[in-house]
C-alpha cells in the first residue's frame, strides 16, 4: 500500500485537536492572574497537561474520524507489483576491485583479500563476465570482461601489495567505465579492501551506472601489534673543519593502540649501518630521534632510517639522498673602484644555497671564469663589445646575467641581449627621491615579498637611476614612480638577463641598508642560476623529471629498486613515476661503454597510508550507488490499464464515507451526553 498524496498525512497532526478539546476546552473558565508562573513553568509539562479524559468513547470516535478523513485525502492505493525484484536473474557483469595499497600488507589482510577475490571470480559462470581491477593511488585493469576462468584466476596477484596509498575514486571510475560498456542485465561490483579512512574524501563525483550493486568485502582486522612508521627526516647541514656534515633527525609515529618500547631506529648509509638509537613511542604518539652528524663524503649517498620490524613492514624504512651542497657560482665583474662591499657581503651570507663568488675586473675575466659561473653580475661596468659577446655566449648555454646600470654602465649596441636601452641618468637627489612601485609579485624574484609585512620596497629611496627604454620582448618587473622601468627581464637563448636601472650600492640609493636587499640579491642570483633545491626524497606516486632536476642529459634509463630497467626517454619526456619504495638509479648512455650514474632518487611510501583507521564501507557504497536506487523497480514495472489503476486507488472513497459516518455518530453521542 502506498499513497498518492502522502503530504496530506501531515494532517495527522490534527489528531491532537480532539485530544486538546477533551483536555482543555471543556475546562475553559476565567483567567486567573498570578504574580509569576516561574514555578508553575518548572513543574514537568506532563503533570500540567495531564487531565482526566472525561469520555474515552467520544475521544476515540473523534480521533478515528479524523484519521480516516486524513487517510482518504492522502489517496492510498494498492500496488499490484509490490513484490520486490529479485536481482538473481540473468547474466551478470562482475567487476572485482582489489585494494593493493601497502596497508594491505598488515597481518593477513592481503591473503584474505586474495582468497575473497579468487572465490568471487570462481563464481563467474559461462554466461557471466568478470573483470579484475587492482588499485592503490591509481587503478589498473588486470583482466577485463571475460568468462575464462584461467585468465581470471591468473590475474590475481601473487606477490606482495604495491607501495601505493589507497584511493577509492579512481578504482570506482574504472569500474563505472567497464559497467557502462556492458550489455548484461545484472551489474555487480565487489570492493575488496581494508577500507582506510584516508582513502575516501567523501563525495568524489563517482557514480556507478544505475542498477549496479556494490558489495564491500572488508578485510580489516584489529590492529594488535605496534605499527610504527618513519614519516620524515630532516637534514641539517653544517661545516666542520672544512668538511660538510649533515645531521639527520628522523620523525616516527606509532599508529596503533599499543605502545612500542625498546625498539630501535637505525641509520644506514650506502647499505652499511652507521648508528642505532633506542626508540620508545606511546600509543598513537610520535617521537623524534636525532642522530649524530655524518660527514658527506660524496654525491648521492643513499641514506635509510629503519625502524625495527612491526605489523606493517613497508613503512618502516625511510630513504633519502645526501649529496654535497651545490653552491651557486657567481662571477662578479666589477671595476674595483665602485663599492662592491654590500654585494660581496650579501652573497657571503647564506647556507642554502651557498654562493661561490669570484670577483674580476672587466679586463681580467677568463674563459674559465665564464664557464664555471652559473650567473654573472655586471656591477656598473662599461662593457666592451668583446666582453659583451663572451657574456652572450654564457646566456646561450643557459646561464644568467644581471646588469647593474649605475653611472658608468654602458653596453655595446652590437650585442643585443639587454632587455632595454640604457639612457641618461636621472638625478633625483635635489627633488623628491624616487621610489619603486608596481612590482611583479608573481615573478620568482619578487615572490617572497608578496605576502603582507614581508618586505617593503617602497621604503627604499633612489637618488638616481638610468632611464631605460624597454626592448621588445622584455618584461618589466618593477618601475620607478615616474613610470620608467627599474627591473627588466629578457630571455636570451636558454638564459635570462635582468637589468637593474640603479645601483646596488649606496651611491644612488639606500637599498643596501634596507631589509629587502639581501633577499632581493639572493633571489635574483638563484633565479638567474636556475637554482633549485634538490629534493632528498620523493613519495610513491610522484613524478621525477630528470631534466629539471639536472640528472644528466641525452639518453637515460632508470633502474628501479626491484632491479627493472626502464628507459626514460621513451615517451613524454624524461619523466619517471615512482611506483616502488627504495632508490631509483638514473643512468646515462645506458648499454654503451660510457654508462654512468647520473642521479639517484629516493622514493618513500606515503606516510598517510600507514594510518590504519577504518571507515564504514557503507559510506562508499552509498556514494557510488546514489544513482542506482529505485531505478530497478521502475524498469521492470508492468504498465497498468486505467481501469486497474482506478480500482487500486478507490480506497479513499470508502475511508471518507466511514469518516463522515463516524462524525455523525459523534454528534449524536455528544448531544446525548450533554443532555444527560
Amino acid at each position: 500500500m502506498s499513497f498518492l498524496s502522502p503530504l496530506f498525512l501531515l494532517g495527522l497532526a490534527a489528531l491532537a485537536i480532539p485530544v486538546l478539546i477533551h483536555l482543555i476546552q471543556r475546562e475553559k473558565k476565567q483567567i486567573m492572574r498570578f504574580p509569576s508562573l516561574m514555578f508553575v513553568r518548572q513543574v514537568p509539562y506532563k503533570s500540567v497537561q495531564r487531565r482526566r479524559v472525561h469520555n474515552w468513547l467520544l475521544l476515540l470516535i473523534r480521533a478515528a474520524a479524523m484519521l480516516l478523513i486524513i487517510a482518504a485525502f492522502a489517496r492510498p492505493f494498492l500496488r499490484r507489483n509490490d513484490v520486490p525484484v529479485v536481482p538473481g536473474t540473468g547474466a551478470r557483469e562482475l567487476v572485482v576491485l582489489l585494494d593493493q595499497s601497502y596497508s594491505m600488507g598488515y597481518g593477513d589482510r592481503w591473503d584474505r583479500a586474495r582468497t575473497a577475490v579468487r572465490n568471487a571470480l570462481a563464481q563467474v559462470g559461462p554466461g557471466d563476465r568478470g573483470s579484475l581491477v587492482l588499485f592503490s593511488s591509481n587503478a589498473e585493469i588486470a583482466v577485463r570482461s571475460t568468462n575464462e576462468q584461467g585468465r581470471l584466476s591468473g590475474a590475481v596477484p601473487t606477490g606482495a601489495p604495491s607501495a601505493g596509498a589507497t584511493r577509492y575514486a579512481p578504482a570506482l571510475k574504472v569500474a563505472s567505465s567497464i559497467l557502462a560498456e556492458s550489455t548484461l542485465p545484472r551489474r555487480e561490483v565487489l570492493l575488496v579492501s581494508d577500507f582506510q579512512r584516508g582513502g575516501w574524501r567523501g563525495q568524489e563525483g563517482v557514480t556507478l551506472p544505475s542498477g549496479t550493486t556494490v558489495t564491500p568485502v572488508s578485510v580489516t582486522n584489529a590492529v594488535t601489534t605496534p605499527n610504527v612508521a618513519v614519516t620524515s627526516v630532516t637534514l641539517t647541514r653544517s661545516t666542520f673543519s672544512n668538511q660538510e656534515r649533515v645531521a639527520i633527525t628522523a620523525a616516527a609515529v606509532n599508529r596503533s593502540e599499543q605502545a612500542l618500547s625498546g625498539g630501535t631506529l637505525a641509520l644506514e648509509f650506502n647499505g652499511r649501518a652507521v648508528q642505532s638509537e633506542r626508540l620508545d613511542i606511546a600509543a598513537n604518539g610520535t617521537a623524534s630521534v636525532a642522530f649524530q652528524p655524518v660527514t658527506v663524503t660524496g654525491a648521492n649517498m643513499r641514506g635509510v632510517v629503519r625502524v625495527s620490524s612491526d605489523g606493517l613492514p613497508l613503512d618502516n624504512a625511510f630513504s633519502f639522498i645526501v649529496s654535497p651542497a651545490q653552491p651557486v657560482r657567481v662571477l662578479l665583474i666589477d671595476n674595483g673602484a665602485t663599492g662592491n662591499l654590500y654585494l660581496t657581503r650579501a652573497l657571503a651570507v647564506g647556507d642554502s644555497p651557498r654562493y661561490d663568488v669570484v670577483v674580476r675586473r672587466p679586463d681580467a675575466v677568463t674563459e674559465e671564469d665564464l664557464q664555471r659561473a652559473a650567473a654573472v653580475l655586471v656591477n656598473d661596468v662599461n662593457v666592451t663589445a668583446a666582453l659583451g659577446r663572451r657574456l652572450s655566449r654564457v646566456l646561450e648555454r643557459g646561464g644568467g646575467l644581471l646588469v647593474v646600470a649605475g653611472a658608468r654602465a654602458a653596453w655595446p649596441s652590437e650585442v643585443d641581449v639587454l632587455p632595454g636601452t640604457l639612457g641618461g641618468p636621472s638625478d633625483r637627489s635635489r627633488e623628491n627621491e624616487a621610489r619603486v612601485g608596481g612590482l611583479e609579485f608573481g615573478h620568482p624574484v619578487f615572490e617572497v615579498f608578496r605576502a603582507p609585512r614581508s618586505g617593503d620596497f617602497s621604503s627604499v629611496r633612489f637618488y638616481g637611476y638610468r632611464t631605460v627604454t624597454a626592448a621588445p620582448g622584455a618584461q618589466v618587473l618593477a618601475r620607478f614612480d615616474q613610470g620608467t622601468p627599474a627591473l627588466l627581464e629578457r630571455q636570451v637563448g636558454a638564459g635570462r638577463v635582468l637589468l637593474w636601472a640603479s645601483t646596488l650600492d649606496l651611491s644612488w640609493s639606500d637599498l643596501p641598508l634596507k631589509p629587502v636587499y639581501l633577499p632581493f640579491v639572493h633571489r635574483s642570483m638563484q633565479y638567474l642560476a636556475s637554482y633549485r633545491e634538490p629534493a632528498p626524497w620523493l613519495t610513491v606516486g610522484q613524478v621525477f623529471d630528470a631534466d629539471s632536476a639536472g640528472a644528466g642529459s641525452g639518453q637515460r634509463a632508470a633502474i628501479t629498486p626491484s632491479g627493472r630497467r626502464v628507459a626514460l626517454d621513451d615517451e613524454g619526456g624524461p619523466v619517471l613515476e615512482m611506483t616502488e619504495q627504495g632508490f631509483y638509479e638514473i643512468r646515462q648512455r645506458p648499454g654503451q661503454s660510457g654508462e654512468s650514474e647520473a642521479a639517484v632518487v629516493a622514493s618513500n611510501v606515503d606516510p598517510a597510508e600507514s594510518d590504519l583507521t577504518p571507515m564504514d564501507p557503507k559510506e562508499i557504497v552509498a556514494a557510488a550507488m546514489s544513482n542506482s536506487s529505485g531505478i530497478q523497480g521502475s524498469a521492470q514495472a508492468v504498465p497498468q490499464t486505467p481501469e486497474a489503476q482506478e480500482r487500486s486507488q478507490r480506497i479513499w472513497w470508502y475511508l471518507l464515507v466511514l469518516g463522515v459516518v463516524l462524525l455523525g455518530a459523534d454528534t449524536l453521542l455528544s448531544n446525548r451526553l450533554s443532555k444527560a
Binding site: 504574580p35 503533570s47 487531565r51
Partner: protein, 309 residues
C-alpha cells in the same frame, strides 16, 4: 483573623499592624506606622532608642597613621606607651528601604496585596528609624529606579508621601537597578530590600550583594502571599503571569505538591545563599503581623552599632 472578613482594601487610613489586612484599610501611612511602632516598642523590654552618646569601648595599641587626637595621654603618662581609645560606632546612621514596585507585587489573595504589605512595612520601619534619630531614605524600583528619597533626618514625611503615591505597574528586574544603587549608597548604613524575588536565587543574591560592598548592613524581606506559598487553587484554569502576560492552562491539584516543593526549595536556596554572603534574610507571609520584620530590623541595627569605629 476575623477582622479581615469582608473588608475592602485601600479604604480609610487607620492602624494596620495588628493584622495586616486590617492595617491595609487605613489609608494614612503615618498613622499606621505610628500605631504599629508604638505598640511594638511598648512590648519590648529594652528601649529601642539607642543612645546618641559616644561610648568608650576599649584601648588599642597605637599604630602609625592613627589620629593623634584619639591618643590616651593619661595612659601614656602612666605607662609610657601609646594607646588609642576606641568608641562604639556613631549612632546616627543612614537607613533606606529599597522597595520592589514591580507588577508581580500587586497581588493579594487575602485582601491585602504584597505591595500594600510591603508599603506598610516600609512605613513602619521608617517611622521606627525616624524616632531613633536616624536618617531615613527610600528607593522604589521595578526594572529601573522609580522613586528616590535620599536619606535625611527630615525626610520621614517625604518618604511616606512618596510611598503613598506609588503604584506597581511594570515588570521588574533586580539586577540593573540594585547594581546602580549600590554605587549610590556610599555612607555606611542599613539597607532594607523588600521584594517578592521572582528570579533565580543566584541572580537575586548576585543583584543584592553589591549593596554590601561599602559596609552597608543589608536586611532582605521576601514578601509572599499565602496563595503563592500554598497554591491552594482548586479549579483548573488558565493562569496569567502578571508581569509577562503569558497564559498557561494549569490544573492546580495535579501540580500543587511539586509547586510547593519548588517554592520551598526557592526559599531555602535564598536563605542559604544570603547567609553565605552574610545578608539577613526573612520570608514574610502577608497574612502574618509585622512584628517579626521589625524584630529583624532591630537585631540588624544592633549588630551594626557593635562595629568598631
Amino acid at each position: 483573623m476575623s477582622l479581615l472578613a469582608g473588608h475592602q482594601p485601600a479604604g480609610v487610613p487607620g492602624a494596620r499592624f495588628m493584622d495586616p489586612v486590617v492595617l491595609a484599610r487605613i489609608g494614612n501611612l503615618e498613622l499606621v506606622a505610628r500605631a504599629v511602632c508604638d505598640g511594638f516598642i511598648n512590648g519590648l523590654h529594652k528601649a529601642p532608642y539607642f543612645g546618641a552618646s559616644v561610648d568608650f569601648a576599649e584601648h588599642r595599641g597605637y599604630v602609625p597613621g592613627d589620629d593623634i587626637r584619639r591618643m590616651d595621654w593619661r595612659l601614656w603618662a602612666r605607662t609610657d606607651r601609646y594607646y588609642i581609645k576606641e568608641y562604639e560606632a556613631e549612632t546616627n546612621m543612614n537607613f533606606s528601604v529599597l522597595l520592589d514596585v514591580s507588577k508581580s507585587m500587586d497581588y493579594g489573595s487575602i485582601g491585602i496585596t504584597k505591595f500594600d504589605y510591603a508599603r506598610i512595612l516600609t512605613a513602619c520601619l521608617t517611622n521606627l528609624v525616624h524616632h531613633q534619630r536616624d536618617r531615613v531614605g527610600f528607593v522604589a524600583f521595578d526594572s529601573e529606579v522609580v522613586a528616590h528619597v535620599p536619606p535625611s533626618a527630615k525626610h520621614m514625611d517625604t518618604v511616606l508621601h512618596t510611598l503613598d503615591k506609588l503604584q506597581p505597574g511594570r515588570p521588574g528586574k533586580l539586577r540593573e537597578p540594585l547594581h546602580k544603587l549600590a554605587e549610590h549608597f556610599g555612607r555606611r548604613g542599613v539597607l532594607v530590600v523588600v521584594s517578592d524575588f521572582y528570579d533565580d536565587p543566584e541572580a537575586i543574591v548576585d543583584a543584592v550583594t553589591p549593596l554590601r560592598f561599602r559596609g552597608n548592613e543589608i536586611i532582605v524581606f521576601h514578601v509572599m502571599d499565602p496563595a503563592e506559598l500554598n497554591f491552594g487553587f482548586t479549579d483548573a484554569q488558565a493562569f496569567e503571569d502578571l508581569e509577562s502576560g503569558e497564559q498557561m492552562p494549569v490544573v492546580p491539584a495535579s501540580l500543587r505538591k511539586e509547586y510547593q516543593a519548588l517554592v520551598r526549595a526557592h526559599i531555602d536556596a535564598l536563605q542559604q545563599k544570603f547567609s553565605e554572603v552574610r545578608i539577613d534574610y526573612s520570608m514574610l507571609d502577608t497574612s502574618q503581623p509585622l512584628d517579626h520584620a521589625l524584630h529583624r530590623y532591630l537585631g540588624a541595627r544592633e549588630r551594626k552599632l557593635r562595629t568598631r569605629q
